[in-house]
Symmetry: D2
């Protein structure tokens, strides 16, 4: 018998939802038990309701589940959410009120003052906000969020630098994969022989989420890091994997070799706890002149690591480097799953 | 009879060389009369020696010319050079010594202390260095260079800002088209579903050339602008058109609207003189949220304009924007041709 | 004063509609006077209603026209249609009834027994069906259609072979550009690093339209050519230009050289009449081993020619070759415009 | 201790060579013990000599091996060859003479009258030619080849049809991935927004290899199948995975459903023997309207299966379908490895 913890996936037919189902199908602790989608799919077999686009074949157990509607009562203690932002607010709050641990990739609640925006290697101490959240809202469950797919990889790289040297300012230019926009998402006429130098609200998200992630929580509220962040976001013809050119002004002036050492030595709570989805090293350093590249490096550590390269001096801010990461694994579904693994080990799941 | 000035093209069978031939074939002042390439092609009909890759058919007059070798004596007063950097030094110097106006796109002589690095809208006054150069070297002809394909478009956008507001620092991240690497150039395995975050020596060129272009010439030597420049260069799956995300710290703090006005009002010496290849406006402003894009905008003003968009505040440096330009037209062959047009109008051609 | 014939464009904001507006803006005989689109755009300035995606800037005269709704009464004697197939039937019929010459790229009426499916070089004699159509339907105007974008280029190549040698069977495999599906059209996740071996109803259209085009009209009805056609259609990551691999069983067994001669000598009614959009040669032969290629050859003769190459023996059917053509110029808007030019010269426009 | 059979890889630094090293590193029976490459690499550590392009990191054991030159004496009983065709002839023959089982992906010996061209599911009985080969040539070892990457997938699909219905004629149009041309291989300027309708000698290989594979061996020589094959080959912007549109005239006229059943029921010698690299089903059927697609389906059965779809009637030849397969796994290195596994189980390895 399958003794894994039953979990639900909200928005299970979309791009990130499919990634949840794929990653959970072979997860050692969780099993996808309830799949939720909009009325268009509710009542159908998941295998029939879904235009599966990840692998040759979708996991068989999941294929046979009947899709449930947005207003279904759920039995699973843990609920992963990949809902469209327009509908996430109400549904996620109802489920938290009803006692579920809602672990969401959707942006809706990310910046709320009592909801943690979490990267386990970066700010595991923000878990304390869950207690505050429950008290504030009278919920038996809770909501926890993970950051935007571009933010998460940049912040994984910045965190050890902040810890070692201090961090004052960051400029980042992203080259983002099309899977970040879902399916159908970006039209092919926008991507063949082209770059689109604009992604709606993305720059704002990177600027605000980075400060919350790298800031503190005092038991009552979050204190954003004192940090200047400037982002320029571009869509490029890549399926998966966001590439980001980062310049940083650190508190001191380390050499590139010292920066590389700090990246390489970085470990966080998931590595200490040995969480099943944790990459051995959250930040993997490539030393070749022309890496990381999305086609070659995005699947490093099963897509759960951030890969850095080209660490070198910046004449303007001091240090520059390139960071790359898988945007629908560590940048979305995998991030939520790692969060849920942390909750389990910290005794926060309503089991 | 064709009364146009006969010109030679060095490196005529390569990517930039082909672009020279294409643009000159329909030029009102110049006609391609001598085509020069390596021994592999010398002696052949140009149409047979060249794997023409620009248009359906190469210009017929040019096709019938016999390709000449690197050591051929040339009759044309004006020589355009698209030579490989490894061989350009000696050949270009010999031709300048022999009295030719050598107008080169090759990087070899760009940073020499008595050779102008020229964008006619930006630093036409650097022409004065030609006199110094001849005196220093005892040449009857001269060498003049144009910048790297990424530098030229960024500097066209920065020049009016420098003039209006002062300019202190620039950070730029480029997304460069593959035609910039020539043919065969970048392998398709590096570009399908991929980004390569590295272009050899490109960042160094942008950093040094920008300072020379925006600096002064005192009759004796060049004085680089006092300016911090930091570049990060990437190759993306685009045929033609470099896209660049620029952040600038200006001397004062103009609003985006003021910056746009300055871009829009910018005119230079080529526009005053009405040079045939001059774009009506060197900097064209797009006001849509998601422009400029290479596939849609690179051919603006026949590829001779720099197109800017997304002008907005930068939390870090003050002003940010995107600039795009055609890398083998205004970024290479077209730049040299515009330089030669300026020389003609300024009476500098050895006719 | 602009003395050109005023024309209307139905579906003016879509991909093919934009191409109509672009080609008509500089047309010597016609001027876009009325632009029609769905309720979403009606009442707006065309420049505001349209996400222009063809050139840097849309033609200024057209930009200032006010978009009209589907049920507007039109003054233009000639109406070009790029309507969605779902709405084309009723609207096109009403306009024909009201006296307009409706020249449509939409598929709705292509296979009707009294409506010509026309390629002027191929079956100009099918114009006789217009008389029959008016008589049958009591219309003062008429409807004429052009074929699907894949069919048109293949048939332009097959027609001279049919005339010279007879034609018994054709097998074709297409590799079609994404612009054929409009905008947003094909998602980029389907096209980056991918081929989609299916285009809905495309194979059926090629098989049926080819027979009507290469068949006869007896004054009363069409007689499809006795011909076996088998098509396999694929979508590939190309912006514009359909590439088609054709094998044909001809009535006799010409050598490749004889086939090339026949392609090269082919001329039709548009070339005789010197119609303004007619390519000098409807079929252009490339002799290089690896041509035609969409990126290099689609704009041959301003996108109005079909380009053939690789003519060689087929061990199975006798003759094989590759044909390429621009799918939104000669394959869509340009095809309709050439049809209208023919109507004008044949005295069929209601002027 | 590693008890696996030591094997050598010739041409180990190239694209196919890297794939051999990758697949063998985790192979249950074989271990890469000797890596051979040209003088440029000989003497270096494999990890330093190789620009590894397959995964984030190359297998560590292999990385530490010292690359050997082309003329090295080898100890491994089994030698896999991915040599350039220009040098393969002499080297492979020398090694066979010296007693090695040379299992080669290179084309040089494919069509020789006493050397088997082998797909274990298709013509395992051709193994008998090894005996003849040794006798003819006086070798203690032998050479066995696998087909071209396009041929192999088409023939895997045709074999069960030939067995069930008879096979008379085949027309195929391929859309081939760039990895088939190695690295650097196809320039990106040929592949962005483009199709190249030509691959040197590919059509000839498909036509001749198919007949040898589907023909017989009588103990003395091969008898090519009596079969007409016509191929048209194209390069498309895909990293891995060849897509092929096939029409076949079978001996009888099965329905698409019968064809699908035959595909689905097909098993060969590798499946009987349970060879470690054998896919559970050599031919996997997709039933969706728009599959198989390279981005989604090439990794089916770890890249060792051929995936068919769109089985439907062909008005010209009777049956048509699409077949897709991974060109550097089952189409190259994986094919050789499966051949070697068969040799081992058949007692043909010189152990």
């Amino acid at each position: 018998m399958d003794e894994r913890i039953p979990v639900a996936v909200l928005g299970a037919t979309g791009s990130v939802g499919q990634r949840f189902v794929q990653l959970l199908a072979r997860h050692p602790w969780f099993r996808p038990a309830e799949l939720v989608a909009s009325d268009r799919s509710a009542g159908k077999r998941y295998g029939d309701a879904t235009d599966w686009r990840l692998d040759a074949f979708l996991p068989e157990d999941a294929a046979d589940l009947t899709v449930r509607g947005y207003d279904a009562a759920l039995d699973s203690p843990v609920v992963f959410s990949a809902l469209p932002a327009e509908v996430a607010g109400e549904i996620e709050q109802r489920l938290a009120r009803e006692g579920h641990a809602v672990v969401t990739n959707t942006r809706t609640h990310r910046m709320e003052p009592d909801i943690p925006l979490l990267i386990p290697e970066v700010n595991a101490e923000h878990l304390a906000a869950i207690e505050t959240q429950r008290r504030n809202r009278g919920w038996s469950g809770f909501i926890a969020t993970n950051p935007n797919c571009s933010t998460i990889h940049m912040v994984l790289a910045l965190k050890p630098l902040q810890a070692a040297f201090g961090l004052e300012a960051v400029a980042v230019t992203t080259m983002q994969a099309v899977s970040g926009a879902g399916y159908p998402g970006v039209p092919s006429l926008d991507m063949i022989d082209n770059v689109v130098p604009y992604i709606g609200e993305e720059e704002e998200k990177i600027e605000s989420e980075t400060k919350k992630l790298l800031g503190g929580f005092d038991g009552d509220s979050f204190h954003p890091a004192e940090l200047v962040v400037s982002a320029q976001c571009n869509r490029v013809p890549v399926r998966d994997g966001h590439t980001e050119c980062v310049s940083a002004r650190l508190g001191s002036s380390p050499s590139p070799e010292e920066v590389v050492e700090v990246f390489d030595a970085f470990r966080g709570r998931p590595q200490e706890l040995g969480l099943p989805s944790a990459p051995p090293k959250p930040v993997v350093v490539r030393r070749e002149a022309n890496r990381p590249q999305p086609a070659l490096d995005r699947d490093t550590a099963n897509g759960m690591a951030s890969i850095v390269g080209r660490v070198r001096p910046c004449p303007l801010l001091g240090t520059k480097f390139v960071v790359l990461g898988h945007n629908t694994v560590r940048g979305a579904a995998g991030a939520s799953i790692l969060n849920a693994e942390l909750f389990k080990e910290e005794g926060l799941l309503p089991l």
